[in-house]
């Protein structure tokens, strides 16, 4: 390699390094203004970020049927989550789920916008991991610690001591979908000391639970969706005469879908509802 050529390569490399490290040299490196384009990351942001930090959230968070925080979003712009909307708002960081549309995320990254994807939760313990990830990214570790402390107190309160008797519980949602092992809902009812009906049926993940089987297996506690919503055939199971005759009000507990659709601090409300509901029924 000739002398001049190595000089030239050297200069280019230094220039390149300078350009690359530009943001590091800047005084304040933490991004400040955030967008979330997913219902679950919306909730994490609302719990952890200060209101000034939030540029926009997804439109789902304003829907009282899907979002536990629909009351808390007044004044925050809600967007569909298209690249165009996000570009106009010029955020420092965008939060998305690992299930968010990859086309949108790739395009955002190509256009130079930072995107942080948060994995969807399949187990209670993952919620705290996600809280940490988001809190670190937005510089709100103190708030995260407060939230986690509250969670631990709640967990302590509802941790079941008795190990011998495990009552059977089952979830039933629209279109007869039920949650088995490998879902947040399973980990919540397992934490409370229940045996999930899915274990008896040898199925995992979300599975279709026919009405006949549900009635035949008769769980001790049935957690049904509570949807205040427009009519749909998917909800027919909740008003089926056979379900009403097989399960009395002492077995059925209504849990709104929205509080445990996502794994966020809001999900512990479901844990509390079920734990409290079961205690009441045992009295």
């Amino acid at each position: 390699m000739s002398f001049w050529r190595s000089i030239r390569v050297g200069i280019i490399s230094i220039a390149y390094l300078l350009i690359q490290s530009g943001p590091i040299l800047a005084l304040d490196t933490k991004p400040k203004r955030f967008i979330s384009i997913n219902l679950c990351t919306d909730q994490l942001l609302l719990d952890l970020a200060s209101k000034e930090q939030i540029l926009a959230l997804s439109h789902m968070i304003g829907d009282s049927n899907s979002s536990p925080y629909s009351e808390r979003v007044k004044g925050i712009p809600l967007i569909q989550g298209t690249v165009e909307e996000i570009l106009t708002l010029d955020p420092d960081l965008v939060f998305a789920s690992n299930h968010s549309n990859p086309i949108t995320i790739n395009l955002l990254r190509r256009l130079g916008i930072k995107v942080q994807t948060i994995p969807s939760v399949k187990d209670l313990s993952q919620i705290e991991t996600n809280i940490d990830t988001v809190a670190n990214a937005i510089g709100q570790t103190t708030r995260a610690n407060q939230v986690k402390a509250a969670i631990r107190t709640l967990l302590k309160k509802y941790k079941r001591k008795e190990k011998l008797y495990r009552p059977v519980a089952a979830t039933i949602w629209a279109n007869n979908i039920s949650a088995g092992k490998g879902t947040l809902q399973h980990s919540i009812i397992a934490f409370l000391g229940f045996k999930n009906l899915s274990e008896k049926l040898n199925v995992t993940g979300l599975y279709s639970l026919p009405l006949e089987v549900l009635i035949e297996k008769k769980p001790n506690l049935l957690l049904v969706s509570h949807y205040k919503n427009a009519p749909s055939l998917s909800n027919a199971i909740f008003s089926h005469p056979a379900l009403k005759k097989a399960f009395g009000s002492e077995t059925i507990l209504k849990i709104p879908d929205k509080i445990w659709l996502c794994g966020t601090p809001a999900s512990y409300k479901a844990l509390e509802l079920i734990g409290e509901g079961w205690r009441e029924r045992q009295r």
Binding site: E216, K218, N235, P241, A242
Partner: protein, 334 residues
């Protein structure tokens, strides 16, 4: 004539046997392993027993519905073919079922039927009636078989598109997926309460259609000849249109659109009843019941994660049959 009535009786008894067999089989099939024998051995035990609940509240409505919907479709197919004197007429093909679906969809998803369940069959009947009336005005009197089918296709696809539109308006996130039910039909997981609402209407429709046997026979001679035999054509027409609308409309309002039953059944049975529309009516009613019950048994036996819709099975049988008919009747149709 004598030979015909002998064949007719034999056909009816074979069909009744089939319906009875499929009905029992339908009661024996489900995700839990209970069979009809468990039900028999149950005896006079308490009414909230699990076995009793599964049979009486889940499987019985399904079997009754399969039977009743099949009867409605078979009867309506036979009546429409006789009345329009068109071998391709069928509630599904000429858009009567889809239109009934559309009206039911509007009533159901708007929440109007939540307080007043009777509105569902009413909506279905209204939808079916308007489809028949529109079809008549579109195709005109004495229309060729092809014109009737074309007008029906137009009504059917228009209603289908409007169903999709109506479902998109719903605030419920699941509603859009339910277009599959409304366009392909199912009798799964219906309650006895819903069956009790639709069944009386279907029965009225059956009565009206079965009663029109004699004038239909007369109509095979031609309209003027039928009139000279003393039948008031306008009355006959009204009875057939309304009978079809009530039977198909109420059936569709609870089970969705199930196609091709009314096409296949009368054609298969016609040779056994000596081409007499009157005899064909009762035979097709039983044949339709047997076909829908059998299709509903098939969807439960096929090893799919999500149960197939009934219309898929009937279309798999019916569509090739429809094409065969077109080829067979090509000269008269085209």
């Amino acid at each position: 004539m004598k030979k015909n009535s002998y064949h007719f009786r034999k056909t009816l008894s074979v069909l009744s046997g089939l319906v009875f067999l499929f009905f029992l089989l339908s009661l024996s099939l489900g995700p839990s392993d209970l069979t009809i024998f468990d039900f028999w051995s149950l005896g006079e035990t308490k009414k909230n027993d699990t076995t009793w609940l599964i049979f009486f509240e889940i499987r019985l409505p399904r079997a009754i519905l399969g039977l009743a919907v099949g009867m409605s479709l078979g009867l309506a197919g036979a009546a429409l073919q006789g009345y329009l004197r068109n071998p391709l007429a069928e509630p599904g093909i000429i858009g009567v079922s889809t239109s009934a679906s559309l009206f039911t969809v509007i009533i159901f998803y708007s929440g109007l039927s939540a307080g007043f369940a009777l509105l569902m069959p009413f909506a279905g009947i209204l939808g079916a009636t308007s489809a028949v009336l529109i079809l008549q005005s579109l195709a005109g009197r004495n229309a060729s078989a092809l014109t009737v089918v074309l007008a029906g296709v137009a009504i059917s696809s228009f209603s289908g598109a409007l169903i999709s539109l109506a479902l998109n308006f719903s605030a419920n996130p699941f509603a859009t997926y339910e277009i599959v039910f409304w366009l392909l039909g199912s009798v799964a997981d219906r309650g006895l309460d819903q069956v009790a609402i639709a069944l009386p209407f279907m029965a009225v429709g059956w009565a009206l259609l079965l009663w029109s046997g004699n004038p239909l026979d007369a109509l095979t001679l031609g309209e003027e000849e039928a009139a000279s035999l003393g039948y008031k054509l306008s009355r006959v027409r009204a009875q057939l249109v309304f009978g079809t609308a009530v039977a198909v409309g109420s059936a569709t309002s609870i089970a969705g659109t199930i196609g091709f039953v009314g096409l296949v059944v009368p054609h298969l049975l016609r040779p056994f009843v000596g081409n007499r529309p009157k005899l064909l009516l009762s035979a097709s009613a039983l044949g339709g019941a047997a076909l829908v019950l059998a299709a509903d048994i098939a969807v439960r036996l096929l090893p799919f994660k999500q149960e197939l819709k009934l219309g898929v099975i009937t279309a798999l049988i019916g569509a090739p049959f429809f094409l065969l008919l077109i080829i067979k009747h090509r000269r008269s149709v085209l």
